[in-house]
Symmetry: C2
Subunit: 289 residues, 2 copies
Amino acid sequence: MTETEFIAALRKLPLHKAARGLADDAAVLEMGGETLVLTHDAMVEGRHFLPSQDMADVAWKLVATNLSDLAAKGAEPIGVLLGHVLGEGDTDFIAGLEDVLSHYGVPLLGGDTVAGDGARTLGLTAIGKASYTPVPSRAGARIGDAVYVTGTLGAAMLGFETLRDGSDNDATAYTRPMARLAEGYDLAPLATAMMDVSDGLLLDIYRMADASEVSIAIDSAKVPVADVERRMECLTWGDDYELLFTLPGGTFPPVAATQIGRAEPKGFAPLFVDGEAITNPQGLGYLHQ
Amino acid sequence: MTETEFIAALRKLPLHKAARGLADDAAVLEMGGETLVLTHDAMVEGRHFLPSQDMADVAWKLVATNLSDLAAKGAEPIGVLLGHVLGEGDTDFIAGLEDVLSHYGVPLLGGDTVAGDGARTLGLTAIGKASYTPVPSRAGARIGDAVYVTGTLGAAMLGFETLRDGSDNDATAYTRPMARLAEGYDLAPLATAMMDVSDGLLLDIYRMADASEVSIAIDSAKVPVADVERRMECLTWGDDYELLFTLPGGTFPPVAATQIGRAEPKGFAPLFVDGEAITNPQGLGYLHQ
């Protein structure tokens, strides 16, 4: 069964209408007058991290990528639960965990530690509290909204290549991505749609347009990229954990961000890049099979 | 690094004083006038389930064992997040997931699905709402309290052997354990200490006594066991997910349970079995290394 088929089957279960989180989005749950935001991401050795990688960086990324899901909901992290498989580099893993939890001021609440063989799967659950309701979703973009992205795309790609090739360049954008929590808080009351960019900017824009039932037209030259010679790679590689969001026309973003396009009436394609219709997500980023 | 060393290292991190959940207990968190209870357990192929096992049963057990942690806190489950590694038997896995979620009326809130090779690690996070505060912990047993356990111990062991040997006996106690949620609700306002029995009754009593700074003396003959010829195995095998709890003298348990011993002033051993002092947890159950 492919991942797509598996998720489709999960969605058919009668009880799981609330399971928005099954496709990258975090789950949103009302409780005691507060709104909880919950997310769980797993990282597999050899797929999501290199076996040779510093386990301190793996711990950082495991936490930061989950916090990025909370950021996209404008949520304040209140804790994480770790699902850890013991193995090489555990001392470094704990050091990296301390770094990232201290950096974000987030407590470890619990979890489970198991012995395992072979490629390890590390899991993390992050719990947050919404700072603003309704919590932004990827499905809220409206016709006429301006489309923005924070930061520079492609930095993680260059970081990955640095690491892979053993060069002396800075790999931090890949090894220790930052969750845009402060930007998420500031944007939550204003953004009509918001999500984090994890699988590639173009793919995530495609998904936002599709979920919002609009078309999004972007001007690729406007997107800040880490390597202008490789613009399209930067727009499709992923792992940057920037925030993609839409604002109504006339609303100025309260955070550093670049307008890269606009939401239009739903046309025959969800995405238009420099006027070219993109009718299929293939090739736009990291597609789960 | 062993699991014990890993957990000890996690506990030294400055931020994690709230991380009670690091040793089997669920984490407890106040939020918006409610008390959240959170737990995450992982199951590794070849260690926590047999590679030949029906994946529907694996899904059931993954959920039920986490709900058992909520039961021990008297918490009502409000949802689960799944960390799934794709592989053989995914259709069965989803069928078992539907069974267990429907049985307990618990929604799937989200999670992550990843591709992986080799022995799979499946993770589940369960979130619950405390029905009574303060939430019971394993550390609350007081001198003079009566010590009780629900159900019959050793049934999971016999179920496991049935499955391993391919016999026709009923393996349900091992393959589809039940979380004692109703008992947990009823006991939460009364129990001075409570925990679920996952690693073996004697080991878990030892841990309760140690955490509560008392000694617990039990009469092994009083414990209901699935095979009286193999009483000590039944008391040490684990996987039964019964509730172990203490009540003040004179308080009658509101659920079906058996009094098996009493909490006494802390002596030179945490546990006395039929008068014999047990000073070391080795051999009492499934000890994480």
